[in-house]
């Protein structure tokens, strides 16, 4: 069954939801960066690589969410040409 293209209001709700999640993840990354810098300057190197890996995973999540956001727009554009 072919999926119904999302309306503009639906897309806006999804965009707000994704933006909220992305902002939370970015704030988490900011905390991670400051904590890692503090540990590094304090001579603690054990957390540096795990923190870098965690930050990379966070970026992967963010990238995936952004990709989903643009894929929704692509779906709408190809279905009826309605694009903001």
């Amino acid at each position: 069954m072919k999926k119904r293209p999302l309306s503009r209001d639906e897309r806006r709700s999804i965009t707000y939801g994704i933006l909220s999640v992305v902002v939370v993840i970015v704030l988490l990354q900011l905390w991670l960066l400051t904590a890692t810098m503090n540990a590094y300057l304090g001579g603690d190197d054990t957390v540096v690589w795990p923190a870098a890996a965690a930050s990379l995973i966070c970026f992967g999540l963010n990238g995936g969410l952004l990709w989903y956001l643009y894929s929704i727009e692509r779906t709408v554009e190809t279905s009826d040409g309605d694009s903001p």
Binding site: A39, G42, D45, L69
Partner: protein
Amino acid sequence: MNIPSNRSTAPNGRPLEIQPKWRQDFPIDVADDELGARREFTKFAVLVSFAFVVGQCWIALKSWLRRRKPTPGSQRIAAIDDVAVGAAMLFHYPTENDPCLLLRAATGTFFAYSNQCTHLMCAVRPEMDQSRLHCPCHAGYFDLATGRPIAGPPRRPLPRIVLEVRAGSLYAVGVERRTI
């Protein structure tokens, strides 16, 4: 004027025909504009996320390079009698770019710390009578006996220089960085 059916109303909710002329000339679709702006902001946030990853990788690289460096060797600072009780002496360890302070709190009690404040690297000054080190830049204070911050903006202790006494002389043999 033909208005597309999917165009949203103006912010005040009235039809376009009775809107001010500037809005009739430039009939921005607010809902579409909002959707596009939020999407672009999400893209910017993801870019910031990438910048944080770059920052983390930079720290990891610096950490890796630091671990590859050989541990600092032993360096003679001064003879014990060169430093009076209650006095301080400046020296450099492990390199000429790392100023440190040797402090003699009592006859047999020596402390040595990096002379750079852990807040913004200003030089700290000993206040032996009050058993503390003072950073004049932003009024930071460190405990003389432990090097830990006791007031002001610094959050990390001063790096401690490990001392050894050999044949009446004081030697710096290592640097102990701490987070708490």
